[in-house]
């Protein structure tokens, strides 16, 4: 018997469904991607020092802004009672006056809380402090380069560095006090 070789017409496979398959994959990644960006208030904690080695460097009063928040939600700024939304105004002036001072004379903001203080209050306070620093930075950038800091891609690296040098954000979280049991 003679087996005839089948005549095949061009060895191709249809690519029509390729698009569908890739769409499916695309959909999967679309769904599993979380585009929402994480936002928050950044902070660098101080290095841990054992209590017996701690020595308190005195800070002169004119460069210190001490904020304390107690468990009732009262806020003290340099021992005077203040409402949280006013902290920003209060600090911007002081930060502004210290722009041209040397590094060792910049403003230090210290935040102290009670163990019973509400976390939300603390964040609102910290928000005000950060906001004050950001506002002065914005002003400085606007006056010198006509740009805002928020469009950080527009500021060059040197400009960012200058901002950091002129208006450093120094926030000190007070060392928790030892409770004698």
């Amino acid at each position: 018997m003679l087996i005839k070789k089948k005549n095949r017409q061009g060895g191709e496979f249809s690519t029509a469904s390729m698009a569908d398959i890739t769409f499916l994959l695309l959909l999967f990644f679309l769904v599993s991607t979380n585009i929402d960006v994480d936002t928050g208030i950044g902070l660098a904690l101080p290095q841990y020092v054992p209590p017996e080695e701690q020595n308190f460097a005195p800070i002169s009063k004119d460069r210190l802004a001490a904020i304390s928040v107690n468990s009732n939600g009262d806020v003290l700024l340099n021992k005077k009672i203040i409402a949280i939304p006013q902290i920003k105004e209060n600090l911007t002036g002081r930060i502004r006056s210290k722009i041209d001072l040397p590094k060792k004379k910049k403003l230090v903001v210290s935040i102290k809380t009670d163990r019973q203080t509400n976390y939300d209050l603390y964040i609102r306070t910290l928000d005000q402090v950060k906001g004050a620093f950001f506002e002065v930075r914005d002003e400085y950038a606007l006056n010198h380069w006509g740009k805002k800091t928020h469009s950080s891609d527009q500021l060059t690296k040197e400009q960012m560095q200058e901002l950091k040098d002129k208006i450093p954000i120094i926030i000190s979280i007070a060392e928790p006090e030892q409770i004698n049991k």
């Binding site: 690519t15 029509a16 390729m18 698009a19 890739t22 769409f23 994959l25 695309l26 990644f29 679309l30 599993s32 991607t33 979380n34 585009i35 960006v37 994480d38 936002t39 928050g40 208030i41 950044g42 902070l43 660098a44 904690l45 101080p46 290095q47 841990y48 928040v69 809380t113 009670d114 163990r115 019973q116 203080t117 509400n118 976390y119 939300d120 603390y122 964040i123 609102r124 910290l126 928000d127 005000q128 950060k130 906001g131 620093f133 950001f134 979280i173 928790p176």
Partner: protein, 137 residues
């Protein structure tokens, strides 16, 4: 003069041959942009709101620490005790030195607990933290 209508010689219709390529490109973008890190969250919390917030630039550096309404602490997929935080974070810190710890703390939490966690983080030398907060309108 007579005007003749010009007719295209080719058959009408959009060529779909390059469609898969275009979609592949989209696919690639999403594959690269995706961070497959879906965690089950066991604790309940509402984030506080703030105005002066920053974006976390590099998500791969972030490790989350959740503190819920009930005061329970979760790291990754486990509920942990306060005393374990130091060890866990130290290991993470060694594996990834520029680690950022994002604290997602319920807004009704007390500062005492947050301070304890911060002390643990300081002992673990994980000093870059971020208080997670939503943007206030």
């Amino acid at each position: 003069m007579t005007f003749e209508k010009k007719r295209a010689n080719t058959s009408p219709g959009i060529p779909t041959a390059s469609m898969p390529d275009i979609i592949f490109m989209l696919l690639l973008f999403f594959m690269v942009a995706t961070t497959l890190r879906e965690q089950d969250i066991f604790v309940k919390f509402t984030l506080p709101e703030a105005k002066a917030i920053e974006k976390i630039e590099n998500k791969r550096l972030v490790s989350y620490l959740y503190v819920g309404k009930s005061g329970r602490i979760q790291i990754d997929d486990n509920i942990v005790q306060l005393k374990d935080i130091q060890n866990i974070m130290y290991k993470k810190r060694v594996a990834l030195p520029p680690l950022i710890v994002s604290l997602r703390v319920d807004k009704s939490a007390k500062m005492g607990e947050v301070t304890d966690i911060q002390q643990a983080l300081r002992k673990a030398d994980a000093l870059r933290i971020n208080y997670s907060a939503r943007r206030k309108e």
